[in-house]
């Protein structure tokens, strides 16, 4: 893990975001060092997904600053944002596969658009990505023919094929059965180890969190109310983090 002093990694300071009257983020701070696997926990509607979208400039914050490797994301123009996003990949909650394309076309699109690689090489890399997520047979299928777990895995293959430096996961295991969830978690672990990416995993699935995360942050009412390593999270005896781990609604409500 590299330090934060040199400005590398992701740094979020005092970010506010409202939708109408609804305050989603109210001064959230976050530091993610290069190579780290950060888990962002929180109940539904606490602004976890919004935070991911703010980091890559898909949304603009109402106040606060966001930097990636020292570059200010908030003030970036479209062209700079696109350059930044080529170093990122995101696995969306519902997969967000392009449903007018086959799985193979979905996975290879990023390479076709952004590299001048010959088609054979692009297909080879896409096949390798599909192999990593155990979907080598599903290349010619349309997304509508896939199950929920397969869609998530295809989305993962699309995310890794461009070999990003940062991988953002928006609830990668939500709505999946325990076995498929476990397979996805192992895959995320493997990608972290093999590709050495910096990842942010937004989730409310504790099993998943403990499997994939180095450091934890708990988001509540628009701020981080817990920051620490996986062991520290596990060791907490009281407070919102303990309540979240135990699923205790009497404490977690406030």
């Amino acid at each position: 893990m590299s330090g934060q002093g040199d400005g590398s990694g992701i740094r979020v300071r005092g970010v506010h975001k409202c939708f109408g009257d609804q305050v989603v983020l109210a001064g959230a701070d976050l530091d993610v060092a290069r190579g780290e696997a950060r888990v962002i926990l929180g109940r539904s509607g606490q602004g976890k997904s919004v935070l991911l979208k703010l980091i890559v400039g898909l949304m603009k914050p109402d106040a606060g600053s966001i930097t990636v490797d020292g570059q200010d994301v908030v003030s970036m123009r479209r062209k700079q944002l696109y350059a930044l996003r080529q170093r990122f990949s995101m696995v969306f909650q519902g997969g967000a596969l392009f449903d007018s394309m086959t799985v193979m076309e979905n996975v290879s699109l990023g390479l076709r658009e952004h590299t001048k690689l010959p088609l054979g090489e692009i297909n080879r890399r896409a096949e390798r990505a599909l192999e990593m997520v155990d979907l080598s047979e599903s290349g010619p299928k349309m997304p509508a023919e896939l199950s929920g777990g397969m869609r998530k895995r295809a989305s993962l293959a699309r995310a890794i094929v461009t070999e990003p430096e940062y991988l953002l996961y928006d609830e990668p295991t939500t709505g999946l059965d325990p076995i498929t969830s476990d397979a996805i978690n192992r895959l995320i672990q493997r990608l972290d180890e093999e590709l050495g990416v910096t990842s942010i995993v937004v989730t409310h699935d504790m099993t998943s969190a403990f499997m994939v995360g180095d450091r934890f942050g708990l988001l509540s009412k628009g701020r981080f109310v817990f920051e620490g390593t996986a062991d520290e999270a596990r060791a907490t005896q009281s407070g919102p983090m303990r309540a979240f781990i135990d699923g205790d609604s009497t404490v977690a409500r406030d």
Partner: protein, 260 residues
């Protein structure tokens, strides 16, 4: 008060819609340089918009020509010589009926389908996914549809002109007992290629309106299935109204200024 609030909200909504069309138009112009690398996407859209609309335009045009002929024949009575029947049918079809009716039916079909497709992509985060992959949705999704519609609407208009005139001819000869030669001589009489060009310019502009309206409403869809339905409806309403308003403006510009 409530009435005024509603009127205000509707007016504001319409202005906002127009503003979105204008903004998208501007963004589209800036990505037109990417046409050469998007040929495959454009051809695919040309096929969907053009070939897919042929049955609809065929039926619409046959009956348009037939009705124009029957009505003109009825209006002529004994006051206007029947040799002008072909002339009137050809002029009204080529200048007005062909381009406008084609645009209205194709607008409903294509505008709604573009808005529903892009709207679904918006609400299922597929457009965010494109943005995330650093692929400009305006360049990748809107531009091919825009270019394809601008090319295919004039093509469909020509097709519609031919079919409508044939429909008129068929009705005139078969049911109104007009001799073939009288009708075809009428067609040739006063025929001016400027009329056809005028109709094609209209088709081009209507194609732009249809694609813009579909794309702008699709991109701005919010909130699940209901939002997608709303986007499709707005796309058709906006396109239809703009086609009719633009038709008037173009009539004035093309036939009174450009070709006069």
């Amino acid at each position: 008060m409530l009435v005024f609030q509603r009127i205000g909200a509707t007016a504001f909504g319409s202005l906002r819609d127009l503003g979105r069309l204008g903004m998208l138009q501007w963004q589209l112009i800036t990505v037109l340089v990417a046409i050469p690398r998007s040929l495959r996407l454009i051809l695919r859209q040309m096929y969907i918009i053009g070939n897919g609309s042929i049955p609809l335009v065929l039926v619409t045009s046959v009956f348009t020509g037939a009705v124009a002929t029957v009505q003109a024949h009825y209006q002529f009575q004994d006051y206007v010589p029947i040799r002008f029947l072909g002339t009137v049918v050809a002029k009204s079809v080529v200048i007005e009926l062909g381009p406008v009716l084609t645009a209205l039916v194709v607008g409903a079909r294509v505008g709604a389908s573009i808005a529903a497709e892009l709207g679904t992509m918006r609400v299922t985060e597929q457009i965010d996914a494109l943005e995330m992959m650093a692929i400009d949705p305006v360049r990748y999704l809107a531009m091919p549809r825009f270019v394809a519609a601008c090319i295919m609407l004039p093509v469909l208009t020509i097709f519609s002109d031919g079919i409508a005139i044939f429909g008129g001819f068929f009705v005139a000869v078969q049911s109104l007992d007009v001799p073939e030669k009288v009708f075809t001589d009428g067609l040739r009489f006063l025929f001016d290629s400027k009329d056809v060009w005028g109709g094609l310019i209209k088709g081009f502009c209507f194609g732009a309106i249809i694609a813009l309206s579909g794309c702008a409403n699709g991109f701005n869809a919010r909130g699940g299935a209901a939002g997608v339905g709303e986007a499709a409806m707005r796309a058709v309403v906006t396109a239809s109204l703009l086609i009719l308003v633009t038709d008037y403006v173009l009539a004035a510009v093309i036939f009174q200024v450009l070709f006069s």
